[in-house]
């Protein structure tokens, strides 16, 4: 135990004294999440919309004016029946269609609830999402205004309908995606580099000629990174939650468990990389080319796996990140429990065991 503590202390010295390591560990996650976050949640301005007003009364006219007066929307055209919706979208001129139901004013006064349907073109899911939020808030604003002077409250119910991409699949993928990349990078690349650095500097020679057993060296190397990766995952989730309003629907313990599982997978991959590379550079190239690119391209982080050609879809199965992204999205967005994601969890566990087994087998107790 004293040996282990001594070793881990040394590892922490290495990490905290190397500015580059510290930057990769803590600067990059924050920079990445901010970049991805702000690049995706862009503001909307002067978006063209179409109106289908089946009621044509005072209230609808007021609402239309209010919407048209905002900087966010420009009323491009008015259409007369529902069949036209599809065709205006297809022409691509408008991003959304507002449909006021028949007898809008009557419904508002009698049942105190009038319906507006917001149909958005969700081919660009972020824009679609923002549009519906904005329309919603304008309408809410409006109801508040009219309710101020009234004893009875009126309500306008907005009904949002997304065309083409009803689940808004890529919204919020960036937090799980960035988290996956960062955990992979920190865990796999940093461990593989820190192990190969010992080989390169010749200190591995001295470590080998010591009573330290291979697994002690490996665990000593890995332990600080497990610790730091957990901190990292927490920072990313907190940033996602507070800065980008990322929903956290599922169980936090399950989230923590799955994150630690994925960190372990990444670490074992890092150890595997270090057993096959002799220099820090090789380790870095292997981690970057062999891990980062597949994660970004094949994990479904940016490009949906389902729209890839079949061979790539098959290849994507061997990428641990793909499974973790599925897991974490399910937990964060859908509040999934273990009985939904047990399959993905098992796959990750299997991969981890495989990587560790291969690393232990390949770990050299001698120099060559």
């Amino acid at each position: 135990m004293k040996r282990f503590i001594g070793f881990v202390t040394k590892e922490f010295y290495h990490i905290f004294r190397d500015k580059r390591t510290m930057f990769i560990l803590f600067g990059m996650p924050i920079a990445q999440i901010m970049l991805f976050g702000f690049a995706i949640t862009n503001e909307i301005n002067n978006v063209n919309i179409a109106i289908l007003d089946k009621s044509k009364d005072n209230e609808t006219q007021k609402i239309i004016n209010k919407i048209g007066a905002s900087n966010y929307f420009k009323i491009n055209q008015e259409i007369t029946n529902e069949n036209q919706i599809e065709s205006v979208f297809k022409k691509g001129k408008v991003k959304a269609v507002l449909v006021f139901e028949k007898d809008f004013i009557k419904n508002m006064q009698t049942s105190k609830q009038a319906k507006v349907q917001v149909i958005t073109d969700a081919t660009d899911p972020n824009v679609a999402n923002t549009i519906s939020n904005y329309v919603n808030s304008i309408l809410q604003n409006y109801t508040q205004e009219i309710n101020k002077n009234n004893t009875t409250s009126h309500q306008i119910q907005t009904q949002i309908q997304l065309y083409y991409n009803p689940e808004l699949k890529s919204v919020f993928t960036f937090v799980p995606g960035v988290m996956t990349i960062i955990l992979m990078l920190v865990s796999a690349m940093m461990t593989s580099i820190s192990i190969t650095r010992e080989k390169e500097l010749g200190t591995m020679e001295v470590l080998l000629v010591s009573p330290l057993k291979p697994f002690q060296v490996i665990i000593g190397k890995v332990f600080p990174y497990i610790f730091l990766s957990i901190i990292n995952a927490t920072i990313i989730l907190l940033l996602g939650f507070f800065v980008f309003k990322m929903p956290v629907e599922g169980n936090l313990f399950l989230l923590a468990f799955e994150s630690i599982l994925f960190i372990t997978t990444a670490l074992s991959l890092g150890i595997l990389i270090s057993t096959v590379s002799h220099s820090q550079q090789t380790a870095m190239m292997l981690s970057l080319m062999g891990l980062m690119l597949p994660i970004i391209i094949l994990s479904g982080f940016i490009f949906p796996v389902s729209s890839m050609p079949l061979p790539l879809q098959i290849i994507s199965n061997i990428i641990p990140a793909k499974w973790f992204i599925i897991i974490i999205k399910a937990i964060l967005l859908k509040g999934a429990t273990l009985n939904v994601i047990w399959k993905e969890t098992l796959i990750l566990i299997g991969m981890t065991v495989f990587f560790i087994a291969v690393s232990v087998k390949k770990y050299k107790i001698r120099l060559e």
Binding site: Y13, T203, E205, L208, P211, R366
Partner: protein, 298 residues
């Protein structure tokens, strides 16, 4: 017997690095492997410290077989590789603490063993190893290799790249360690250091040429060596090489070492020859052979 090596051979990609090497080191002995770069010294060290497997032959260190009992050897030897192999980003004290920790001991426990050496670097104990001078780095590395009180100490070219004063100090330290009962196997490319060992093995191109006490090696040397000096040193070497009965000519410090083939060699003849070649300030005298002379002749 602390180290026993029998017919050890090792090849890298079919190139023989060492070829059927055998030698023995007694308990408490300071044994030197003397040879130029590429002679195979480091390979021998790595095989004996269980870092490499030999292709042929067997060896034991501190009574343990280097293949079967490699774990026991790793517990009981100290190893200082040729390349500085400490953590550059750790301070002197942190390095020492780390090595003490991984050997399951503490600095205090074996302080008396490293005291003489550590005292010299203690003023810099908070300095990062990266910022140490060559000599101090070697002292620290030696402390780290000693911290667990090893039975056998392996020092691979510990004085390469170290200034002459530090080199001298380093060897004095080795002598003191030897008195504490530690067996030391040391390698060096410097022939002048060979004389400081109890016994030496002269190695070249992966083979041992000779093993003996340094003074016996010199005593056994039959040939007479002449120190030759003249104003134009470069021309002197060229002219000496042209002398009909020359056996060997090589630069040695400020003199040229000259050996003649014939036993009835007369220094006056050589003097005349050199004068004819227009050399001035000629000086010829009989020299005491050194290990280097022996080595050059092997």
């Amino acid at each position: 017997m602390s180290i026993q090596v029998q017919n050890i051979s090792k090849s890298y990609n079919k190139i023989k690095a060492i070829d059927a090497i055998s030698f023995e080191v007694n308990d408490g002995e300071l044994f030197g492997l003397i040879g130029p770069d590429g002679a195979g010294k480091t390979t021998i060290f790595r095989i004996l410290t269980t870092l490499l497997l030999a292709n042929e032959g067997s060896a034991s260190v501190a009574g343990f077989d280097i293949v079967k009992d490699y774990k026991a050897i790793r517990n009981s030897v100290g190893y200082m590789p040729g390349k500085f192999s400490l953590y550059q980003d750790l301070s002197v004290e942190e390095n020492l603490k780390f090595f003490a920790a991984i050997f399951g001991t503490t600095i205090e426990e074996n302080y008396d063993l490293i005291k003489d050496i550590y005292i010299q670097i203690e003023p810099y104990k908070t300095r990062r190893a990266r910022a140490l001078s060559g000599g101090m780095k070697q002292k620290l590395a030696l402390c780290c290799a000693l911290i667990h009180k090893p039975k056998v100490l392996f020092l691979d070219e510990p004085t390469t790249g170290v200034d002459p004063v530090s080199r001298k100090e380093f060897w004095e330290m080795l002598k003191r360690l030897q008195q504490k009962g530690i067996t030391i196997l040391v390698s060096t490319p410097y022939m002048d250091e060979a004389a400081l060992c109890d016994r030496i093995a002269l190695i070249q191109k992966g083979s041992i040429l000779k093993i003996d006490e340094p003074r016996n090696i010199i005593k056994d040397y039959q040939k007479i060596i002449y120190d030759v000096k003249a104003k134009n040193r470069h021309q002197l070497i060229l002219d000496l090489k042209k002398y009909p009965s020359q056996y060997s000519v090589f630069a040695f410090g400020e003199y040229i070492h000259y050996i003649d083939k014939n036993e009835d060699f007369n220094a006056a003849d050589l003097d005349n020859y050199l004068k004819k070649q227009l050399h001035t300030e000629i000086e010829i005298r009989i020299s005491n052979p050194t290990i280097e002379d022996v080595f050059m002749d092997l």
